[in-house]
């Protein structure tokens, strides 16, 4: 034990954050967290003042996803804490390691309906991996270490630590004891390797189905080597994009509701599906009992609860992908199948020959992808622009494509881009957003202004809530309900009021120069791309349909 002087709980908090290598935190002060903000003045950690607690938590999420480090955010009690909930839910659903610190009213006032008191500890149960409320100063140091350990261990996720104000101010000695680990369960390994090998060697039409778990397990090299060695055709989930090299000749792109036709048909026809860090989400499978209906399943995952949750695995392989995947990397004799999927890939390749002068969003996003520097990090919001980005941008690493996958949270993209840019100051960061989504956290333009964060924003603007409008047209007989946004503000003027350079384009002929101007600009930039309000995302697997029943036009 190191001899140490007396600290406050708040001082101890920053010492422990520094022990875990935290350099940046995102937050917003308030009454019940004032002792922590006071101690911040004496810390080397840099704090970014966001303009809404939801901005802070999404910046922490973007920071974590772009860098692989834990993202940290802070908020005060009551409304400050409840404003974190959506971001915590997003991090929980997409398994992102975030530590959220909330101030709480003093312990003596807890349970008395005090000013700005809410039971955030109770509220957090359904949207965090774990949470703590510290009511004894002697517990604080251990709890903070446990928060980081839990956030990163196994399937990652968000952890909330609620600290009452008197605990923040209480005196404590730092013990520097980090040896006590919380985990007390012995997990039995579940790995049916010999059965999996048997399935693999007998498969004639195997598919590798890659999910977000690959990037989170740092197993990109292993999965690429597996794809290369086996020559197996591969498909990706939204969160898995970038795990497989997009130039791999047997890679068919994203599967599922807005997946490529080749990916969905190949999965439908396969006789062996190897799920790697993927969880058979409903947006992936479509009608579950018709998903890969003739396939045996080998399922690699770190989370026991995902095995057999939505699809029975013939050979479950639980544990670390880095260790397990190479055990199955054999050369396969599947030339006929490879030729068939390559033919489909060729036959159903994206087309960009869109008639007229109006801008075609997929072509813009493809061109951005072609022109952006290597290792650019793209974030998206949620809606049509998100699916077009997933379909048409070429992503070389999952940490370069940050999107709200499971929760589908509008308002994710802008604050996530801020967090990504702070974690990777030398890389280009592009936030692709829509005119609906950007308004959900538009206040974060002020964060960009304050810190001169050089994020590039591509605003795909159809003056509609486009994805909902698309569904109303297709599945609700064209009756449009609350999806018109033709009274949006002037986005260029809005950006300029935050000292962000902005430009609007409307014609195809303007696209290339506009993208280059944006990428060449040193500071933040908003490029407003006006598109036709009737453009739809294709293909589309309608609700309750099998993935081979895609719609390709209205």
């Amino acid at each position: 034990m190191t001899d140490s002087k007396l600290l406050t709980g708040s001082g101890l908090l920053f010492n422990v954050l520094e022990q875990h290598g935290v350099n940046h935190v995102f937050g917003y002060p308030g009454g019940a967290i004032m002792p922590i903000y006071d101690a911040l003045c004496e810390s080397d950690i840099q704090h970014f003042l966001c303009r809404h607690e939801q901005g802070a938590v999404f910046s922490a999420v973007g920071y974590a996803r772009a860098s692989g480090n834990v993202g940290v955010c802070m908020a005060t009690s009551g409304p400050g804490a409840t404003n974190l909930i959506t971001g915590l839910a997003d991090a929980w659903a997409d398994s992102i390691p975030v530590v959220a610190i909330t101030g709480q009213v003093p312990t003596a006032a807890m349970g008395s309906d005090a000013f700005q008191e809410i039971d955030i500890f109770g509220l957090s149960l359904a949207c965090t991996k774990h949470s703590f409320q510290v009511t004894n100063i002697e517990e604080l140091e251990k709890v903070l270490h446990q928060a980081f350990e839990i956030a990163l261990e196994g399937r990652q996720g968000p952890v909330l630590v609620d600290i009452p104000k008197d605990i923040q101010m209480a005196s404590v000695k730092q013990t520097f004891d980090t040896t006590e680990h919380l985990k007390n369960k012995v997990k039995l390994p579940l790995a049916d390797i010999s059965k999996a090998l048997n399935l693999l060697t007998h498969a004639k039409q195997p598919i590798l189905y890659v999910g977000g778990g690959v990037g989170m397990a740092n197993a990109i090299d292993e999965v690429r080597e597996f794809a290369q060695k086996t020559g197996m055709p591969s498909v990706s989930t939204l969160k898995g994009l970038g795990a497989i090299n997009p130039d791999n000749e047997n890679y068919l792109g994203m599967l599922g509701m807005h997946g490529t036709k080749a990916a969905n048909l190949a999965v439908h026809d396969c006789d062996l599906l190897i799920a790697v860090g993927a969880r058979f989400d409903d947006r992936v499978t479509g009608k579950l009992d018709q998903f890969a209906p003739n396939a045996k399943v080998i399922h690699f995952d770190i989370d026991t609860a995902e095995i057999n949750k939505r699809r029975e695995a013939d050979a479950p392989i639980l544990g670390d992908l880095k260790e397990n995947l190479p055990l199955l990397a054999l050369a396969l004799n599947i030339e006929d199948w490879q030729s068939k999927v390559q033919q489909m890939k060729n036959d159903f390749a994206w087309r960009y020959d869109h008639p007229g002068d109006n801008i075609f969003a997929p072509a813009v996003l493809k061109e951005v992808s072609d022109l952006m520097p290597k290792n650019t990090c793209v974030t998206t919001d949620v809606g049509q622009h998100q699916m077009w980005s997933a379909q048409h941008m070429s992503i070389d690493d999952p940490c370069n494509f940050l999107t709200s996958g499971s929760m589908g949270t509008m308002g994710f993209g802008l604050p996530a881009a801020i967090g990504a840019q702070i974690s990777r100051p030398h890389d280009t960061v592009i936030a692709v957003s829509g005119d609906g989504s950007i308004m959900m956290n538009v206040q974060e333009l002020a964060t960009i202004k304050r810190y001169q964060i050089p994020v590039k924003i591509i605003l795909i603007d159809n003056a509609k809530l486009g994805m909902v409008r698309q569904w109303q047209d297709l599945f609700f007989e064209g009756r449009l309900s609350e999806t018109d946004l033709s009274d949006n503000p002037d986005f260029c003027m809005l950006a300029q009021s935050f000292n962000i350079k902005a430009k609007q384009i409307r014609k195809k002929s303007e696209v290339t120069d506009a993208i280059n101007d944006m990428l060449d600009h040193n500071g933040p930039y908003l490029l407003q791309v006006k598109i036709d309000a009737k453009d739809n995302v294709w293909p589309l697997v309608p609700p309750n349909s099998a993935n081979n029943e895609m719609m390709e036009s209205a």
């Binding site: 500890f121 109770g122 703590f132 919380l182 369960k185 026991t304 609860a305």
Partner: protein, 90 residues
């Protein structure tokens, strides 16, 4: 609807019972009964949870097992059978 009795061993930590109840409800299981006792000697709580659902009990066991403070979750099949028999005769 199938009936099950789960025997859950857990560290005696804050809100562990709330966590178990929240997960049980969210994952689609009805709670038919519960008993909980703490061994003050080792701070281990034993919770007997009677649940019913059409879903596989394995889904709930896996989710409860994931909770940080849980030490073990087991199904007591004999109790579940007795419960079912009682329900049929009632």
């Amino acid at each position: 609807m199938n009936n099950y009795k789960l025997i859950i061993m857990t560290d005696d930590k804050q809100v562990v019972l709330e966590r178990i109840l929240q997960v049980t409800r969210y994952r689609g299981f009805l709670i038919d009964g519960i008993t909980a006792k703490v061994n003050t000697g080792n701070n281990i709580a034993t919770i007997e949870l009677f649940v019913s659902s059409d879903r596989s009990i394995a889904l709930l066991i896996d989710q409860i097992n994931k909770l940080v403070d849980i030490k073990s979750v087991k199904v007591d099949n004999s109790a579940a059978k007795r419960l079912k028999a009682k329900e049929c005769s009632a």
